[in-house]
């Protein structure tokens, strides 16, 4: 997993609540057996018209947002399915950070496993950042995970909080399977005890 430390980039405003995983990556595009290549179908139902041409009204089809690395949205971002294809599609497009007032649980988890940082900020702040994002290509936003601050184009710093363990893993790009493997003796003894107490689970 690619580490996330600090990111300065173009932020795309998506002023919608309840952006669900079928919007982020529709189910008909989930057929790849790779983690890569989902970016071209990110938000496919909004980005493309029925004839396959680009919809010029959608933010990611507009300059400078074609190169957005940060996405700003409203409440309950990522609701719906558990598909990890949602963060994969964001990442493959180039978006490494989503800022919203809150996130659906499974999507939130999935982001951390893929080096995508979900940042929770109050709705008014998200609205302010969306206004900042509309100023132009030079209006870049910085997301500093080390210091846990978002820096507005005007230099104002907005603090945020990330769970310490997740922050540590993300800053260092660590795979948590390796970490869990260190608990193998505890898993072994759990299984031995459970097998004695609940043998039907091992039948």
């Amino acid at each position: 997993m690619q580490a996330f430390t600090t990111l300065t980039g173009i932020a795309a405003p998506l002023p919608k609540a309840n952006v669900d995983t079928d919007q982020i990556i529709p189910a008909r595009f989930l057929k790849s057996i790779s983690r890569l290549g989902f970016g071209k179908n990110l938000f496919a139902n909004f980005r493309y018209k029925e004839d396959g041409s680009e919809n010029p009204d959608f933010v990611l089809n507009q300059e400078p947002y074609r190169k957005a690395e940060i996405l700003i949205a409203f409440e309950n971002f990522g609701c719906g399915s558990s598909r990890e294809h949602a963060p994969w599609a964001l990442l493959d497009f180039g978006i490494r950070c989503v800022i919203a007032p809150d996130f659906a649980d499974i999507f939130h988890n999935n982001c951390f496993k893929n080096g995508v940082l979900p940042v929770r900020l109050p709705k008014e702040v998200c609205a302010q950042l969306m206004e900042d994002a509309k100023l132009g290509a030079n209006a870049r936003v910085t997301v500093d995970l080390e210091r846990e601050v978002v820096v507005r184009p005007n230099g104002e710093e907005i603090p945020f909080k990330i769970d310490p363990l997740r922050r540590h893993l993300l800053l260092n790009g660590l795979d948590d399977i390796g970490q869990t493997m260190q608990h193998a003796p505890a898993i072994d003894s759990f299984e031995a005890k459970q097998k004695a107490a609940q043998p039907w689970l091992y039948a």
Binding site: R28, S34, N76, E84, D102, D176, A186, Q198
Partner: protein, 476 residues
């Protein structure tokens, strides 16, 4: 033990599965059953392969193919779409390479992962159950802690049989009294989502309680737990009781004899203790719930079938008004229009929410002696080969076919537009599935969620209809 503070059903299952606790309070949680399907696993097996890892407990893992498969005869001759075929072949190859038990495509036990787990007796009370699929919450109806995970977590469970988890908050939703005529578990859960919203359960595990939940059969409880995720909760549960035990006793792989007796001793300790703390509580009166139908593009946009399309102009909040305007426009509706006047093109009875034998009986009871309206395509897709067999033994297939319904093979089918069963742009469907998101059943498709009986009523009426006006006919 007597000094221990009262615990909820969730607390008890959680406590029984903590292997270790990290310094920050994150638990390493043991997983008893890991269900897998073809869509969310290929990248996880790639990860195992790259790291030289194995499946820790293949016997606690079970794979099945459900999302990509065609539900017509073409399943016997091969999957037409090359990407779908590759995804299915990849699961078969990975199962063979890693020693994971897999139900073969043409096996009669094949079906939707959330139908077969309980049906085979693999999903049991007190278990922790995961699957790379958000509707894993379904298995909570057995009195288990069951939730959906992403592909990285699938890999983590395959390799370690554990997950890193923070404890969830406890929420109890009690549905008191008796369910009214014409209503089912689907109407209960849609009414709940209408009340709490699509993020109402975020961060919580919901325990469903109350007389109306107790009175539901296992299929009804599974429907309710299934849609917990549509209310934002990762898991929903119902405490095990005699209904649960009677169901398990009839399953092919559930514990038998002494093992069952011993299991029941532990299962009977699982229900939440009196005085256990719930962070959030909600009560509903069952008799106030009317047959429900969604009108918009998320499951909280739901109304009783007697309702009318809401008017966005009456909404003060600008963002909410914009969202409602978009829904009305996408769904091709006019504010004030009666929901019962909406003509349907397609009726879909199936999905992990409503494809069990009880659901098919409910649909057949309405279909019996009636005809699917002209111009309506109606399909019934059983949740598994075993459900299909049972329905055919009961003659339900004949009733449905005589009424003009298509009788299909088991699979996810038209729930999610990943296989050949899809809506075309602008088509309106009455669907027993769980999500009405834009494009969910095919690009441009318009989905109205409802119960199997309501779906059957819509099929014969040709428009959304109140099932209370379409009661079973005794004679054919």
């Amino acid at each position: 033990m007597s000094a221990q503070k009262p615990r909820t059903l969730f607390d008890k299952i959680w406590d029984a599965h903590v292997v270790d606790t990290l310094p920050d309070g994150t638990a390493l949680l043991y997983i008893d059953l890991h269900l897998t399907h073809e869509v969310t696993t290929p990248q996880a097996f790639d990860g195992l392969r790259a790291a030289g890892r194995k499946i820790r407990r293949p016997e606690a893992t079970l794979g099945v193919i459900d999302h990509n498969i065609a539900t017509d005869e073409s399943r016997y001759t091969g999957i037409v779409d090359p990407e779908s075929a590759l995804q299915v072949a990849t699961l078969e190859k990975n199962a063979a390479e890693f020693g994971m038990p897999l139900i073969p495509l043409l096996d009669e036990r094949q079906g939707i992962v959330h139908v077969i787990g309980p049906e085979l007796g693999r999903s049991l009370p007190g278990m922790t159950i995961v699957c790379g699929d958000s509707h894993t919450s379904t298995h909570g109806a057995m009195g288990a802690l069951a939730f959906g995970i992403g592909t990285s977590e699938v890999e983590h469970v395959l390799a370690t049989q554990t997950l890193l988890q923070k404890p969830a908050k406890n929420m109890r939703i009690s549905v008191d009294g008796n369910l009214a005529f014409g209503c089912s578990g689907k109407d209960i859960v849609l009414a709940i989502i209408g009340r709490i919203g699509t993020a109402g359960g975020t961060g919580h595990v919901i325990e469903y309680a109350g007389d109306a939940i107790r009175a539901l059969d296992m299929a009804g409880r599974m429907t309710v737990c299934n849609m917990s995720i549509e209310g934002g909760a990762r898991a929903g549960m119902v405490a095990p009781d005699q209904t649960t035990y009677d169901y398990i006793a009839k399953t092919p792989n559930g514990p038998k004899g002494d093992a069952l007796k011993r299991a029941m001793e532990w299962w009977k300790t699982l229900p939440s203790d009196a005085g256990a703390h719930f962070d959030t509580e909600l009560r509903l009166n069952a008799h106030e719930i009317a047959p429900q139908v969604t009108w918009g593009t998320n499951p909280e946009a739901v109304l009783p079938i007697t309702g009318v399309v809401p008017n966005p102009a009456e909404v003060a909040d600008e963002a909410k008004r914009a969202q409602m305007e978009r829904m009305v426009q996408y769904m091709g509706l006019t504010p004030g229009q009666r929901l019962q006047d909406l003509k349907v093109d397609v009726v879909f009875i199936g999905s992990c929410t409503n494809s069990r034998i009880e659901d098919i009986r409910a649909a057949a009871a309405i279909a019996r002696g009636r005809r699917v309206a002209d111009g309506v395509r109606a399909m019934v897709v059983p949740g598994s080969g075993l459900v299909k067999k049972q329905a055919e033994q009961e003659g339900l297939d004949r009733i449905l076919k005589e009424a003009g319904f298509e009788w299909r093979e088991a699979g996810c089918s038209m729930c999610l537009g990943m296989n050949p069963d899809k809506l075309t742009p602008g088509q309106r469907s009455a669907s027993t599935s769980n999500r009405n998101f834009e494009g969910r059943q095919g690009p441009g498709g318009r989905t109205h969620l409802l119960s199997p009986a309501m779906a059957a009523a819509a099929a014969v009426a040709g428009h959304l209809a109140d099932v209370r006006d379409y009661q079973p006919k005794e004679t054919v």
